[in-house]
């Protein structure tokens, strides 16, 4: 297993009022993303625990694009990864943000 | 110890336990007075629908007849019988039914005592020895929830590697001591002294408290989290509205 952590400045605070959301499952080629609203509005952190070692550069690129495109300010995202492909990772990150941005019921 | 040695040592006053192709059924006189009902699986036999239904019948009949004597479950079994026929006929129901009968009898004041004196595994283990109030073992017992070759196949780790890992954690490796550490086995008897006396001591110590195996597993460092998690969920659930 390999653990990675990235912290970025985000342009804007993620919308919505929910405090947390979760998407995905840990399985071969899949991952779960737990997203929590824990950080200052301009901060974003992504912590990764992955079964596939040696892909740090790819994770770095995926996370950087994600922060640029979705502006997830204030969010801490925690990932358990079962060796998902980068496109799946990008999709789950986006899904997680969409979930936490929904209106609280 | 052979099965006969065990029965003789357990019941010096006599018993009528018969071994019919691995299915043990009968009763015995206890040294302390009174009698015990005995069921079990012997000769490392697999436990299938045909065997399980006889064992549960014996337990139910004993409950029906009344009395307060304990029920002993002697186990040297294979795993459940792995066959198309057993699955077709609903083996899960037969094994669950046997376990239910044992747990029910125990709750009706017929303490159930498992004695693991040989092998056991998987579904057969759950339906017999692990469905008792208290499980004891003899030193030669060799339970294996999963055998190392199967585990090696699934985890793609070599058997040597698994053995190496087993040294640091009892949680997955076969063997009596590993299982005892997780809390499944209450105590390991001394085969050099009278089993009857050890049984008497055990029966005297059984109390009405609930399932203590997770606490035991925590105490023995075999299951670090189970007891606390169960308790937390229990408390949260009762507080919730």
């Amino acid at each position: 297993m390999e653990t990675l952590s990235y912290r970025h400045k985000a342009q804007e605070r993620a919308a919505g009022s929910k405090s947390l959301a979760i998407i995905g499952v840990v399985a071969s080629g899949n991952l779960e993303v737990l997203v929590e609203r824990l950080l200052p509005d301009t901060e974003c952190q992504v912590d990764i625990n992955t079964a596939a070692e040696g892909f740090g550069a790819v994770w770095e690129a995926v996370v950087a694009d994600f922060v640029e495109r979705r502006s997830p300010g204030g969010l801490k995202l925690s990932i358990n990864d079962g060796g998902a492909r980068p496109d799946t990772v990008a999709l789950r990150l986006a899904q997680a943000v969409r979930l936490i941005e929904e209106d609280d019921q | 110890m052979t099965l006969d040695d065990i029965l003789t040592s357990l019941f010096p006053k006599g018993h009528d336990v018969a071994n019919d192709k691995g299915v043990l059924l009968g009763s015995a006189l206890l040294q302390s007075g009174g009698s015990a009902v005995v069921i079990g699986v012997a000769g490392r036999s697999p436990l299938g629908v045909d065997e399980a239904i006889r064992l549960s019948r014996h337990v139910l009949d004993a409950v029906e007849q009344g009395g307060e004597g304990p029920i002993l479950v002697l186990v040297d079994s294979d795993s459940q019988r792995m066959s198309k026929r057993d699955e077709l006929l609903g083996l899960n129901e037969y094994l669950a039914h046997l376990a239910k009968c044992l747990i029910y009898a125990d709750m009706q004041g017929r303490p159930t005592v498992g004695l693991l004196y040989g092998h056991s595994a998987a579904g057969a283990f759950l339906a017999t020895a692990l469905a008792t109030r208290v499980l004891v073992a003899l030193p030669g017992a060799d339970p294996a929830v999963m055998d190392l070759p199967s585990m090696s196949r699934v985890t793609k780790l070599s058997i040597d590697m698994l053995k190496e890992k087993a040294k640091s954690t009892p949680v997955f490796a076969p063997g009596l001591n590993n299982l005892a550490q997780t809390g499944a086995v209450f105590t390991i008897w001394d085969e050099k002294t009278s089993l009857a006396e050890q049984l008497q001591t055990l029966l005297g110590s059984i109390q009405g408290a609930g399932d203590q195996r997770d606490r035991l597993g925590k105490h023995r460092n075999g299951r670090p989290k189970a007891a606390d998690i169960a308790e937390r969920v229990h408390d949260l659930a009762l507080q919730s509205k």
């Binding site: 790819v58 980068p86 496109d87 799946t88 999709l91 969409r98 | -």
Partner: protein, 548 residues
């Protein structure tokens, strides 16, 4: 003085030798090996059918057990190397040389045997190319074929999997060759005559039906969100704008996703009647919902598909069927149809390089090509205009005079940037080139050449290579949809941005597609059982695809 009619005399002698084992034309299965020893001569060219789907398995087994002292040095000319026996004949020294097209299940072993020098390789062909050579320089001396039933005259009924049989028989029977058919049963009258009896010399009744693999069944349950996204991009970014009505689909999950999106997403885009109405295609179960929803007018097929017989029979409005009601397939005609009469081929591949060359070959697996290169190439002999063909031609050559300008077939490679086990789709150098170097081949085994590829679709977007004006643009367009692969991350960001502004690269957002909408609920069928329901119970999937 030239001695004429040599071949005819030779054939007569072979037939006379074989006839000793026959009653009329019928030979017992247990005499099959002896029959082949009587008929086949050392050095013969033999076509052992050997198709994409159906297999003359009894005859393959018989050939693999002939006495190699009598029968040896054969030159096998067959489209499919599929059964273990197809390679056993090389292992045993019965055969020496091989010309073929496709080797799906044997791709690893064939690679090993090529490296080990057990096989003298002629070439890996496309189907049409091999069929063409049957009539020029690879004409079989003996053809070993498979059919469903025969009558005593040797008339054959092939059933829905006609496939290569008419082509093989045509080349063999009319050039003094011997045709031996294995059949599942001998009947008084065949349901329809697929091969006339005067072209068939021996009929062997097999103990069990010939083997057919369900190669074209894709379980909708296995389709991923990423594949659905690529399918949405293809429909909205290619099918719709070009108005593709006549086409061929590859067999991957991406194209299965397209088939399953037609009645849902396609309907929502208002594309019904405007796209995907005429196919050169096997009877894909995944197309059932689109057929039932009225999208599809006509399908001609290379072969059939296991479990589709009753459905095809009931939908003869769409499929080509005989008087008996069952499908009539024909690989050669369907390949021609795909080459000349379709405006688009869309399919997946294993590797794409920086110019767009693609290959399904890795150094450990030589799978061959099958039909993709015929479908996936521009037919230079084409002369009839259609809108998508003309539009693609204009995109490639905007300044050329319209009436002199060739149209272009759309050849679309679709896939996700990473495949199974995280293996990247995009590479700097194809494994096919490495293989060619190792085996000292004169030609690298490419599936589709870069100059035929017009579009690449991945989850990151669509690259329209028709709009690229030079090698650099082409490379950056490909890098620009290569995602997080090494190739993708090495892109020139500024250039990719410019290509996007010109519409060479189109991202999901450029097409107003939100990747988060790529959900399995968009699929018209999410399981094999759903396909059965769509078919009104007419589709009978084989056991390995059921979960009921």
């Amino acid at each position: 003085m030239t001695a004429w009619r040599k071949a005819q005399n030779s054939r007569d002698a072979r037939i006379a030798a074989g006839s000793k084992l026959a009653q009329g034309k019928v030979v017992n299965a247990r005499d099959a090996t002896a029959l082949l020893e009587a008929v086949i001569r050392p050095g013969d060219r033999v076509c052992l059918e050997g198709d994409n789907q159906k297999q003359a398995d009894l005859l393959a087994g018989a050939l693999a057990t002939v006495d190699a002292h009598h029968v040896h040095d054969l030159h096998m000319v067959q489209s499919g190397v599929v059964l273990p026996e197809h390679l056993d004949v090389f292992e045993r020294g019965i055969a020496k040389r091989l010309d073929y097209s496709y080797s799906g299940p044997q791709s690893a072993r064939i690679a090993k045997m090529l490296f080990g020098g057990k096989i003298e390789l002629g070439a890996v062909h496309t189907y049409l190319e091999l069929f063409a050579r049957y009539f020029i320089d690879l004409t079989p001396h003996v053809a070993l074929i498979a059919a469903v039933s025969a009558d005593r005259e040797g008339n054959l009924y092939t059933g829905p999997n006609t496939e290569d049989t008419p082509t093989v028989v045509e080349a063999t029977a009319f050039k003094d060759g011997v045709v031996i058919a294995q059949v599942n049963e001998i009947v008084d009258k065949v349901p329809r005559v697929d091969i006339p009896g005067d072209r068939v010399h021996f009929v062997v009744r097999a103990d069990k039906p010939f083997f057919v693999e369900p190669l074209f069944t894709r379980d909708p349950a296995a389709i991923t969100e990423g594949q659905i996204l690529t399918a949405m991009l293809a429909l909205k970014g290619i099918y719709g704008p070009y108005g593709i009505k006549r086409l061929n689909h590859g067999i991957g999950f991406n194209t299965a996703a397209i088939e399953l999106l037609l009645p849902t997403y396609g309907e929502r885009l208002g594309l019904k009647g405007k796209i995907a109405s005429r196919f050169a295609l096997n009877p894909h179960p995944a197309l059932i919902p689109a057929i039932e929803a009225g999208w599809v007018e006509q399908i001609h097929s290379f072969g059939s598909e296991v479990g589709m017989d009753d459905y095809i029979r009931a939908r003869s409005d769409v499929f080509f069927t005989g008087d008996d009601g069952s499908l009539r397939s024909n690989r050669a005609f369907c390949q021609v149809a795909g080459l000349y009469a379709c405006d688009m081929f869309i399919g997946s591949t294993l590797q794409i390089d920086l110019q767009g060359n693609s290959s399904t070959i890795t150094t450990a697996r030589i799978a061959g090509f099958g039909g993709a290169p015929n479908m996936g190439s521009d037919a230079r002999g084409r002369r009839h205009p259609t809108e998508p063909w003309l539009r693609a031609g204009q995109e490639a050559d905007p300044d050329g005079p319209a009436t002199l300008r060739r149209g272009r077939k759309l050849v679309v490679q679709i896939g996700e940037t990473f495949g199974d086990k995280n293996i990247p789709l995009f590479v700097e150098k194809l494994d096919a080139l490495i293989l060619a170097e190792k085996l000292k081949l004169e030609l690298a085994p490419l599936m589709i050449y870069a100059d035929d590829v017009t579009h690449i679709v991945t989850e990151e977007g669509i690259a329209n290579l028709l709009l690229c004006r030079d090698k650099d643009e082409r490379e950056q367009a490909i890098r620009g949809v290569a995602g997080y692969t090494d190739v993708g991350r090495a892109r020139n960001k500024k250039m990719v941005q410019r290509l996007r502004e010109r519409g060479v690269i189109r991202r999901p957002e450029d097409l107003d597609i939100d990747p988060l909408d790529a959900d399995r609920s968009l699929l018209a069928a999410r399981s094999i059982k759903d396909l059965v329901r769509w078919s009104g119970g007419l589709y009978a999937p084989p056991s390995q695809f059921r979960n009921w």
